[in-house]
């Protein structure tokens, strides 16, 4: 039986529900040799900022029992160099393209969207409202009013649908989700890594974002709660290492998923995961993902 993994996401057809998350796909060029393009629905760039950022001092990545802590600090070449050096090859890729943008200040988000607006090969913009590795006291994603304002102002100038990437470190995810929806977000991505701290050697600490398997149950719960209050498409992120993880995300109410940490271990993981997803559907007698339409509400 031919299994069709394609999903409709904001009016565009994704070959599979598998999106490659921001930060683990670079600008796409280094990862592409490892990928089977048919297994990937969309690829998300590193978060691009207005000015180049050199990122945080090392160490930047540490394995802790069951998870990974990173503190890259949004190291990136800045939007001008990204447009000049990386965008053309990104736009040639067969999968859908999501450019992640991040502002040090609220007003930088619409500026970035405006600078990218002429490159219509971009499919979506993702607003990184939730990077845990910046010096800011509070994440944008922890302030519903700020999220609303950023999205509203970006929406005005963006020809692309907007995805808001949210943080798990909030009192009430529903409040944030609704603020994003009111601001005009087209979809939500839950969740970014969880702000944590570890001592990796005597007296030496790393403050960073926790990712990997521990994030999955947290993300599932937040997706389930968010799904209760909004019909916006949801991307589920956190701890996806196998096809069966995707099923859990669909059951909780996600429409697509994004792979993060697994790509660090296994850059060719999307093909394996898509194959596993097909096998699960086939063994249950389904030939597409439409069986999940009741949980996703779409």
């Amino acid at each position: 039986m031919g299994i069709n993994l394609s999903v409709n996401f904001l009016g565009k057809k994704l070959t599979t529900p598998v999106i490659l998350a921001s930060g683990v796909s670079g600008y796409s060029d280094e990862l592409i040799p490892f990928l089977d393009p048919n297994s990937v629905g969309a690829i998300t760039t590193k978060t691009i900022t207005l000015q180049p950022r050199e990122g945080n001092p090392p160490p930047r990545i540490i394995e802790v029992p069951g998870g990974i802590i990173n503190s890259i600090g949004l190291a990136n070449m800045g939007v001008a160099a990204f447009i000049k050096e990386k965008l053309a090859s990104l736009l040639k890729l067969p999968m859908k393209k999501i450019v992640s943008i991040g502002g040090a200040k609220e007003e930088e988000f619409p500026l970035l969207a405006r600078m990218l607006s002429e490159f219509r090969g971009i499919d979506f913009l993702e607003l990184n409202l939730s990077c845990p590795n910046l010096k800011k006291q509070k994440l944008f994603a922890q302030e519903p009013e700020t999220c609303l304002k950023i999205i509203k102002n970006t929406k005005r100038v963006s020809p692309f649908p907007l995805i808001a990437k949210l943080s798990p470190q909030v009192t009430d995810i529903k409040e944030v989700a609704l603020a994003c929806e009111e601001g005009g977000a087209d979809a939500l991505n839950l969740i970014n890594s969880l702000p944590v701290l570890c001592y990796y050697a005597a007296g030496k600490k790393l403050r960073g974002g926790l990712s990997g398997p521990p994030l999955k149950p947290l993300s599932l719960r937040l997706i389930e709660e968010t799904r209760k209050v909004t019909s916006l498409p949801l991307i589920g992120t956190g701890g996806i290492y196998a096809g069966k993880d995707i099923i859990d995300y669909f059951l909780a109410g996600a429409n697509c998923v994004s792979l993060g940490s697994v790509l660090l271990l296994e850059p060719s993981a999307p093909a394996r995961i898509a194959k596993e997803l097909k096998e699960i559907l086939a063994s249950s007698g389904y030939d597409s993902l439409s069986c999940f339409s009741s949980s996703t509400g779409l």
Partner: protein, 255 residues
């Protein structure tokens, strides 16, 4: 670049040091000294990141690569328990190798497990008719593996406790012997802890020797994507897995 290889040997050299031998297919790109392999030790959730290891040797006729490692944590502990005939997944060969040419008169300075890429460099240099000087430093006599592989007349050994070779840190032993090397060598190649590499660079700079250093560093992806392994250079942070692990020591912004 991703391979499932068969382990042809995983031999303890002493309680903490091992030599892993892997059979590679004919399509495996011939590695160059300084390059590394990124080994998948185990499965999630126990092992979420690969571990990088310098290539210790490559035998093109036998199609074998060797990896020399010391048990330093749970990843290398798990690696030491792998048996002959088991399969192992790795990415490689990765990274930027050492540079030399026919005019290079090299001194290789290694500390501890940092001897691994230098052993491969030694083998490849010898193939091109270059006989390098070698200075290796270890903690104690028990760790002094592979000394028989180097020409004794050009090989210096040191241990921190003095139980074999000369007593002292490898950098102190190098300083002591600088008069001997003056006028003989023109480039130092080194691998070891960052503090050691910094001292080696200072010595090389003072003596006007060229100097390349290879960094030992925990990595994320190993293929240049995540920017998890970086070193500060005079041109900003550079990725150890991609622009490195070998750098011209003059490029590094030593702290």
């Amino acid at each position: 670049m991703e391979w499932n290889l068969t382990i042809t040997g995983n031999t303890p050299l002493n309680p903490s040091h091992f030599l892993l031998e892997l059979q590679v297919p004919s399509s495996f790109p011939p590695p160059r000294p300084g390059q590394f392999v990124h080994i998948r030790i185990g499965e999630p959730p126990c092992f979420l990141l690969r571990r990088p290891f310098s290539i210790f040797s490559f035998q093109s006729k036998k199609r074998r690569i060797e990896v020399f490692y010391r048990i330093v944590g749970r990843g290398t502990k798990a690696l030491s328990q792998k048996k002959k005939e088991e399969k192992i997944n790795l990415l490689g060969p990765l990274g930027t190798p050492f540079n030399w040419d026919t005019g290079t008169v090299p001194l290789l300075v290694g500390g501890g497990r940092g001897i691994a890429p230098l052993h491969f460099l030694y083998q490849e240099m010898k193939k091109t008719g270059i006989e390098p000087y070698v200075l290796f430093g270890f903690k104690n006599a028990e760790d002094t593996v592979f000394r028989e592989r180097f020409s004794p007349e050009k090989f210096l050994l040191s241990t921190e406790d003095g139980s074999a070779g000369e007593k002292g840190k490898v950098t102190d032993v190098l300083k002591k012997h600088i008069p001997y090397f003056q006028g003989k060598i023109n480039k130092i190649f080194s691998c070891g802890a960052k503090e050691m590499l910094q001292e080696i660079h200072l010595i090389a700079k003072k003596e006007k020797f060229a100097c390349e250093v290879s960094f030992e560093q925990f990595m994320g992806c190993g293929i240049g994507i995540c920017q998890g392994c970086v070193v500060k250079t005079k041109q900003g942070y550079k990725r150890i897995c991609r622009e490195g692990p070998v750098f011209n020591a003059d490029e590094i912004a030593w702290e």
